[in-house]
């Protein structure tokens, strides 16, 4: 009996003494933690993808609160997150345009790939490319083991019925995990508003590229798009046309002239021409100045006109017109 009492008494007393000691110490060594860090941490998505350049969401939250880090680096969070953080920090949100992944290859499906051999081995793209450069006859094309899908934390990449990878522009957060996963460097992050892409990554010479591409959509490096581009946004690099998205105006002219359909324009069939609505135009000349192909003419304070022959349907004038006086028909 005494043993029980002793045990309880000793352990109880020890507990109380240690507890009091710690309570005292916690007062003495109290550390102020910035409440902003916790708040920002709650807003951030918490997927720890690393797109912001920090090893996790909390580290990024600390950098924002403590080191005045830019608040627009969270790709998965998107605009909403930026706005909320801006509110907490009491600063204006500077929204960077959202970027999404684009796969620069149209081959790699079940029925549009020339096979070099049947691959039966470790099912990752990284392993496949080590085996005589992969089963795709094209040395630069997709090797269809879907490392990008495995790398995507947001289920934004799916396979269509032909086994081609389709990126969901809504789900894609632009974190860049697939870009790193692709051993062929086929994937690139592109501003979401840019919709015309060169969907080929082959550096082979024209005839060779065409022969190897199972989809017959290889870029043969003919340079027609380079000459057609009204803003000189396309350059040829080693037999491959590359679009500079900083300059690209989405007009889709390159897609029209491309002889192999290597350039893809989602609006290809329903490009419209701009037309000035005479009632609304105040003759401010902004549209004429901004038009990349000089299709708009007119003097100051007079109604402007669009030359439908020259107009490429890029819609820039619609966006810049202060009076909404331009429509696409």
């Amino acid at each position: 009996m005494t043993t029980i009492i002793y045990s309880v008494a000793i352990l109880g007393t020890l507990g109380i003494i240690y507890g009091l000691g710690l309570a005292f110490a916690s007062k003495k060594f109290h550390v102020e933690i910035d409440p902003k860090i916790e708040k920002i941490g709650e807003i951030l998505p918490g997927v720890n993808c690393g797109a912001c350049g920090y090893p996790g969401c909390i580290a990024y939250a600390e950098a924002i609160a403590g080191k005045n880090e830019e608040i627009n680096k969270c790709a998965p969070g998107g605009e909403n997150t930026i706005k909320q953080i801006a509110e907490i920090m009491g600063i204006k949100a500077s929204t960077a345009e959202r970027r999404i992944a684009v796969i620069h290859c149209q081959s790699g499906g079940y029925n549009n790939t020339h096979l070099r051999y049947q691959y039966q081995g470790i099912a990752t793209c990284k392993a496949v490319v080590l085996v005589t450069n992969g089963p795709n006859y094209c040395n630069f094309g997709c090797v269809f083991q879907n490392d990008c899908i495995a790398a995507c934390k947001f289920n934004a990449i799916r396979l269509d019925e032909n086994g081609l990878k389709i990126i969901d522009p809504v789900k894609c957060t632009g974190c860049g995990a697939c870009v790193k996963a692709c051993p062929r460097n086929l994937i690139e992050l592109v501003p979401v508003s840019k919709q015309v892409h060169v969907l080929c990554h082959s550096y082979d010479k024209g005839a060779e590229a065409k022969k190897r591409c199972g989809n017959n959509t290889a870029c043969i490096g003919c340079g027609l798009c380079v000459r057609k581009c009204p803003v000189a946004a396309i350059v040829l690099e080693d037999n491959l046309a590359v679009i500079d998205y900083e300059k690209c105006i989405n007009c889709g002219q390159c897609a029209i002239v491309c002889p192999t359909k290597a350039i893809y324009d989602p609006k290809a069939d329903n490009r419209k021409k701009a037309r000035v609505i005479a009632d609304k135009c105040i003759g401010c000349t902004i549209c004429a100045k901004k038009c990349p192909v000089k299709a708009i003419s007119g003097e100051l304070k007079k109604i402007h006109t669009v030359d439908p022959e020259k107009c490429v349907g890029c819609e820039i004038c619609v966006q810049v017109c202060p009076k909404d006086a331009i429509e696409m028909i």
Binding site: T3, I10, L14, G21, L22, A25, F29
Partner: protein, 195 residues
């Protein structure tokens, strides 16, 4: 003089011959977990030295003046753990206040000293070896020094490994395990020392 030589033997024994990590295999969790950078390894080592020394002191007093006279030695483990846990909490608060960078670098491993079996190990060994009060304190200190030594050595090697060309599949933890094994083999050489 005899006392000095005894202490010397105790030190060599605790640091090299019966090293807590590599010979007794205690405290392996922080040994692998906090050995990525020399700085944080050193900080962790200091924290462990402090906790071990304090724990040795307090637990010896507890055992000798409370548990033994009252014949409740069976409470040894739980009373020791209680003591160690409180000490770790204290160390955590102090480090957070005085060295926030170190606090962040140590991360979850700081509170995990609580369950670091090396600390409980040293406390129980003190009792089992029937050490005197002074010997207990020193044994705790030397055990901590031995732990720190191994941790810092390991961190130094792993910092070099980061820059070395290692096959993809061996990067990180696997190569760390191999290194740990090699170090344990090296320390086995000390077991021939007769003190």
């Amino acid at each position: 003089m005899e006392f000095v030589s005894k202490i010397f033997a105790l030190a060599i024994g605790a640091i090299f011959v019966q090293n807590f990590v590599l010979m007794r295999f205690l405290g392996l969790c922080p040994y692998i977990g906090v050995s990525k950078k020399v700085d944080s390894a050193l900080g962790m080592g200091m924290a462990v030295i402090f906790v071990m020394t304090m724990a040795s002191t307090i637990t010896w007093v507890l055992q000798t003046y409370l548990l033994v006279p009252l014949k409740i030695e069976f409470l040894q483990t739980i009373a020791f753990i209680l003591t160690i846990a409180s000490l770790v909490q204290l160390v955590e608060m102090i480090i957070q206040k005085l060295a926030p960078a170190l606090y962040k670098a140590l991360g979850v491993f700081l509170p995990l000293i609580t369950t670091n079996c090396a600390v409980l190990g040293v406390a129980i060994l003190n009792i089992n070896e029937k050490f005197s009060f002074i010997e207990s304190i020193l044994y705790g200190l030397f055990a901590g020094v031995g732990f720190t030594l191994v941790l810092v050595l390991m961190a130094g090697i792993r910092e070099k490994l980061d820059k070395a060309e290692i096959p993809e599949s061996m990067k990180g933890m696997p190569i760390a395990m191999v290194v740990a094994g090699c170090m344990a083999l090296a320390f086995l050489g000390f077991s021939g020392l007769k003190l």
